[in-house]
């Protein structure tokens, strides 16, 4: 199966960022990640770090030219992920997932995870609430 990475640079996040920036959190989305660099990554999980305050998913993404990019995806705290339906078994190394999120400001292969789609079709929110991330509809708690 061919893996595809499409990095879509969109301007839509810019206006939303202004709204989100007012939300205070223990650390701000905008300090590390770029709302103007949404990413959509199809890859294989190599490792899941279930650590507080943010879990990290490590993902190998094979590009069309065959090269492999190793991405780190920042997720919410382990407790919140488990309550949303994530489990140890759902992220066993080797699992294919689709990650949507926003790339790091410095352009590294690091992203703030928003939605993760699993092989069984489940699409679960990966992020933290209240960090000032773009209001893109991923976070079920923001829809009010």
């Amino acid at each position: 199966m061919r893996k595809r990475v499409s990095v879509i640079v969109a301007g839509v996040g810019a206006g939303l960022l202004l709204v989100g920036a007012s939300v205070q959190a223990h650390h701000a989305f905008s300090a590390e990640f770029d709302a103007n660099r949404p990413v959509r990554l199809e890859g294989k999980i190599t490792r899941m770090e279930w650590i507080n305050p943010h879990a990290w998913m490590h993902l190998d993404v094979t590009k069309e030219d065959g090269t492999v990019e190793s991405w780190m995806i920042e997720a919410g705290p382990p407790g919140a992920l488990v309550r949303r339906g994530w489990s140890r078994e759902s992220v066993i190394p080797g699992t294919d997932v689709l990650v949507e999120g926003y790339q790091a400001l410095d352009g590294a292969f690091r992203a703030n995870g928003r939605d993760v789609t699993f092989p069984d079709g489940r699409r679960l929110f990966a992020g933290s609430s209240g960090t000032g991330a773009p209001l893109d509809g991923s976070d079920p708690t923001e829809a009010r």
Partner: protein
């Protein structure tokens, strides 16, 4: 109360047998301390003696980091692996050897990470067992590791997330406490020699009293990603007999801050 009454004829019968066949080991068994529920009483402070934390296998003395001279050298030791061989898959053996080469920097113990199971048991420090009928707690000094052994689950529950210390479920097999541990994160090593496992590690521990002040510890280690077959370590644990002995906090995180983050200080320390 019923248990007590039922136990009495057995004890009388056992005493009769002992009188006929006075085998020293059996005589010791009879002296196993009992908890309120009739199971062996494992409450107290225990410790392994030996060099398993240096290397689970037979090993000669060897040099440590140059600056530390004999203090940092590796003491010789007899292995605790039954049969001494660890059945690594070929690629895993290569990883173990790489771990060994980089042991002075890559061993998670260097950075005060949690020791995992079974390593927590045979680190050279005391640990405390607090025994209930539904839960048994094990408290270790190093990195303040601890674990709850769930005695009240009919079948082991899957670990919600993976962790350094895993998830422990226990039951009694006669006088032996059997603990099934899974849900590991695969980061822990077994010793300072680079023996390791992955997230698919599954450990079955057996704590068998040998008398009031000693028990035999066995851990069968299974990990299809790393080993071709299960293997077992076996070593005795001894009760610490000092009056008022305590497991003291060994908060080692602060001792590693400059090691890990010293280069980030305003005036770098490393």
């Amino acid at each position: 109360m019923m248990k007590r009454l039922n136990w009495l004829p057995t004890a009388v019968a056992l005493a009769a047998v002992l009188w006929l066949v006075p085998a020293p080991a059996t005589a010791q068994d009879a002296a196993v301390a009992r908890a309120f529920d009739g199971h062996p009483d494992l409450n107290g402070v225990w410790q392994a003696i030996g060099t398993a934390n240096w290397d689970l296998q037979d090993h000669p003395a060897s040099a440590g980091p140059v600056d530390t001279g004999a203090i940092g050298s590796v003491p010789p030791g007899q292995g605790v692996v039954v049969g001494n061989d660890i059945p690594y898959k070929p690629e895993a053996l290569a990883q173990k050897q790489q771990n060994f080469e980089n042991r002075w920097t890559d061993d998670p113990e260097v950075k005060c990470f949690l020791p995992g199971v079974p390593r927590a048991t045979y680190m050279p420090y005391p640990f405390r067992i607090i025994q209930g009928d539904k839960k048994i707690m094990m408290l270790y000094g190093f990195a303040e590791a601890n674990r709850t052994v769930h005695m009240d689950k009919a079948t082991p529950e899957p670990a919600p997330i993976d962790t350094w210390m895993g998830r422990s479920h226990g039951n009694w097999d006669g006088d032996t406490l059997v603990v099934d541990v899974g849900g590991f994160n695969g980061e822990a090593w077994f010793d300072r020699a680079g023996n390791y496992a992955s997230y698919s590690l599954h450990v079955v521990e057996r704590y068998t009293p040998l008398g009031p002040n000693a028990m035999m510890y066995e851990a069968t280690i299974e990990d299809p990603n790393v080993f071709t077959e299960p293997w077992t370590i076996r070593l005795p644990l001894y009760r610490r007999l000092e009056e008022n002995v305590q497991v003291l906090e060994y908060k080692c995180v602060e001792f590693t801050e400059d090691l890990i983050y010293g280069h980030l200080r305003k005036e770098p320390t490393r």
